[in-house]
Amino acid sequence: MNVAVCVKQIPDTASPYALEPEDYTLVREGKLIMDDSDSYGVEMGLQLVEAAGGGEVSLVSMAPNGETSGLRNALAIGAAKAVLVSDPVLAGSDALGTAKVLAAAIRRLEPDLVIAATESTDGYTGTTPVQIAELLSWPSVSFAKHVEVSGGLLRVRRQTEAGYDEVACPLPAVVTVTAGVVEPRYPSFKGIMAAKSKPIEELKVADLGLDPAEVGLAGARQQVISVEAAEARKAGEIVIDDGEAHERVISFLEQLKIL
């Protein structure tokens, strides 16, 4: 069983995000990290390959600037290789442009299953994985909270408004996983060392046979007009708990006629 996991390298979420003044794209300088949301997909891929008793996990990623620092950790915990589509023309790509690039890269890998997070932490459009599925004419199961493969079928518990659906789906397919579905493992020292020599294939948009006009800012066909500070909520009353602060909560709720 071969699994491709889509991973996104994003600016460190610990530091504040900023937008470029010219085109309002996200500032992506400095070291990028792998989106935490993707660590669940990588772990799930590894578990499914282990359960199948063969195959490997490949990472598929896209970045405008050849960044690979965010891929090493996933390689260190067990992914076998990575494909990085890196091209300056990709800067400013929207979800559909990104999906076209990733779908083309995935076609070359011919995996049995593609796993992605339900959405990225930085852009959180939340449509790219299912766009990939449609581009490949594959079925997809989004918002998976439990995934296994048995009898050649993908079996997924999919989050719904009311609870969850059990979904059976033939392979190849795309599945998107919510955070917390599995416990991502930590890299071992041996894994970290091994990751340094694992292959990362770098591709350009032209290598994928895509028209540069379809991707990047040019292909996005949408434009940010303005960004301004939102109306700020003000900080209110602060009470330091001296053992009786709950009384203030009660009186506040009474004021609001909740009690």
């Binding site: 979800a95 004419s137 059990e166 397919a173 917390g180 909560v249």
Partner: protein, 334 residues
Amino acid sequence: MEEIWVLAEQRGGVPAGIVLELLTAARGFGRVVEAVTWGTGSASAATALGQYGATKVHDIGDIGESLPGPKVAAAIAAHILGGDRPDAILIGATYDGRDIAARLSVRLDLPVLTNIVGIDASDGALTTEHAIFGGSALLRARFTGGGPGIFVIRAKSFAAEPVSPAETAEGAALPEPAASPVIVVMEVPDTGQSDAARIVARHEEERSGPKLDEAAVVVSGGRGLGSPDNYSLITELAQLLNGAPGASRAIVDAGWVPYAFQVGQTGKTVKPTVYIACGISGATQHMVGMKSAKNIIAINKDREAPIFTIADLGIVGDVTKVIPKLIEELRARR
């Protein structure tokens, strides 16, 4: 805008709340508002859709055990490519809504705008509003190419209001009295392998009390609870206030509670009368989902936690000490 379509998710003939919100919004800037619906009971949903402004309902009908994404997207795309082209398609940011938007976008080779929290139509074209950086900034965007624009909109971005008789009589920006819309069948073309997934069983989770996104009181817990066992404090406090329990992403990621409890950018948007954030620091990810609450109470050990910058009442203290006392007091009042 001439014609707006609203994707109308429904269950047993009852449209989802977001559908009524979107129909209300669409009436504000569209001359004609139509709905697209599917599933058993879709025909009986038409009346409710009409009451909120839909003059025509395109009914895809029963889709069996398929997931909605492939069939609904294919039906809409085929209809549009056949020449009946709305100017905009409004889709709620639900589990199924996002699937449909994604597949529709590929079928029409058109971009999507998602996480929309407002739409401005004052100059003819639609300008969308998006809350970014935890809601501290508002970004405005628009499509630059041809339509129809695919708009994915977050819940609670618009208030749902039925078409009032008076409003309809004046007929200003509104279509004909819309109580019983025309129902037309929308055919589903062959969807091939993309529609190969099948629902084999449906599980409804028992939840006592109000739903997270409808409750007047939401009590959410975060890392500050210290351990998964302490989440029972949140559940009990919520129950005593006739509210719903919620969670920060941190404890969902850690597996303490299921994803369905999550409030935030990923997760539910809530707009309760009172939001009580317990042991939640206030990551941007969380704030964007709850900062529209009418009143916010925060309980957190760290005086510097960002949540205190937006709380109407901030208690600097240990949640595992403050909440048990609150619970005790509320129990005594019962």
